[in-house]
Amino acid sequence: MGLTLKKVSRSFAGKTVVNNISLSTKPGEIVGILGTSGSGKSTLLRAISGLDQDYEGEISINGTPIQGVHEKIGFIFQEPRLLPWLTVIENVIFGLTGNKQEKIIRARQYLQNVGLQDCEHLYPRQLSGGMAQRVAIARALVTSPEILLLDEPFSALDAFTKMQLQDLLLKIWEMYQSTLILVTHDVDEALYLCDRIIILRGQPGEIAEEIEIQESRPRQRGSQTLAHLKAKILESLELEQMSVLQV
């Protein structure tokens, strides 16, 4: 079951940005959507999230087509997007409903998962970029989404923080086993995290290739297998540049 896309396309003012995307995910799978800028990866993710409903085709969760935002879908944006007037813990419970005390207990657990149990009373401006993104991760996970969408979540962070958060994401994923859909333009990140990489190419973006990564976790960053796959992916992406030049 999980998430299924059938022939999803999206155009803006007559110009098609993503075209005819079909894919389905297995529960607990980590799927990477990789592509150069302009290939429509984020557009696709916004369609799945329900933030953007003007797409063609069908998106369904566990067989039911979705209309609008879905409570089983969580979203982590490129920026933390914390509400600056709320403290860390208030930000985490933002999407929860119900008894305040229970919400706080639950939020604390997730803050602990991301290593920020001591920061619950800080305001977003007092956090570093990496800490803020951890809070955003906790906020997205606290509602127990079955499917977590990540839109280049670590692209604004420095290399070290990025690696830490990638490991953190894997750790949390092992605990909660959500399906992750990760949009990225970072080949190494996709190789390190994903079970399957879908390469979007062209304008409008179409699925150019799907690459399964069998290697077990924890993976070695820069292992031979991954290096080999990376070469293959880069080759596949460079073709696009050629064709752009030719046009």
Binding site: V69, E79, R81, L83, W85, D118, L122, Y123, R125, Q126
Partner: protein, 286 residues
């Protein structure tokens, strides 16, 4: 002037106290205050001397001490409190009315593009009229009683508050609204949980400049005709050839205006403690 110097030296004292707590942060303001009070201090002293020796005729420019005595005498015979009270009351009522209307209309316009199309061009056109030009019309309609004065002040307060409410709402970060939508908030929840808090800084800027205009307009309103109030003191001083009364009134306006702005500033700091720059860092070590 002398009164202001007292105010400055009070600030000076409190600054000194806080310097002990936060040496790094407050050192600069301390020297700024010392440097900044040298020139006004000198002017007051020279002014006092020149008036005493008769260089300035006292019927045109009375000495700072004479002005202080004028204020003191009014305080003793009780008339001071009536003037201050009535003027403050007018500003307060006008401010509340102007702010309420501005918030209501501003929210409608900010939230609804169609209403914006109806109202905003008209409001912008009205804004182009210097507000004081309305004074004769208001007096014609409502007489020189309280209602024309309060309407005047409310009108002055209205524009800055309205403009800031509208721009505050229109400029709410779309990214934050998306966060709300991802969590399935409905329109009312989006407004109360995201748009209003996000628009609050702009609103507070609006009410502070609105209050400033309120004080400006109360002068205009009271100059037009009043039997009590600080603006009336201005007219009284002019008609009785008493420049010390005029200067006393000016100083009182400055003090009360500053005081009311200070109150709003404290409210602002309380409400926006989460913002960059405004806030203290003492929670950092938690």
């Amino acid at each position: 002037m002398a009164k202001q110097e007292i105010e400055v030296s009070n600030v000076f004292v409190t600054e000194q106290k806080s310097v002990r707590k936060k040496t790094k942060k407050k050192q600069l303001p301390l020297s700024t205050i010392v440097l900044g009070s040298i020139v006004p201090g000198l002017i007051v002293v020279v002014w006092e001397i020149l008036t005493r020796i008769g260089y300035f005729p006292a019927y045109q420019l009375p000495a700072p001490s004479t002005i202080l005595i004028t204020i003191y005498d009014m305080a003793v015979d009780g008339s001071l409190w009536g003037h201050i009270g009535l003027t403050t009351y007018r500003v307060f009522v006008g401010f509340v009315i102007g702010t309420l209307i501005a918030v209501l209309l501003g929210s409608f316009v900010g939230f609804n593009r169609n209403i914006e199309k109806f109202f905003d061009p008209m409001i912008q056109a009205f804004r182009a009229i210097p507000s004081l030009a309305w004074v004769p019309l208001f007096i014609l309609w409502m007489g020189i009683g309280e209602s024309s004065k309060i309407t005047m002040i409310a009108l002055g307060v209205f524009f800055p508050v309205y403009l800031n409410v509208v721009s505050g709402i229109l400029n709410v970060d779309r990214q934050l609204i998306e966060v709300g939508r991802i969590y399935g908030l409905n329109t009312v929840q989006l407004v109360t949980r995201i748009i209003l808090p996000a628009a609050l800084p702009s609103f507070l800027v609006g009410i502070r400049s609105g209050l400033g205009l309120g004080w400006m307009f109360v002068v205009a309103a009271e100059l037009m005709g009043a039997s009590q109030g600080l603006g009336f003191l201005l007219v009284l001083g002019q008609n009785t050839l008493a420049p010390e009364t005029i200067l006393a009134s000016i100083i009182l306006f400055a003090l009360i205006g500053k005081l009311s702005d200070w109150v709003l500033k404290i409210i602002e700091q309380r409400a926006l403690h989460w913002q960059d720059g405004l806030a203290n860092q003492e929670r950092g070590g938690n």
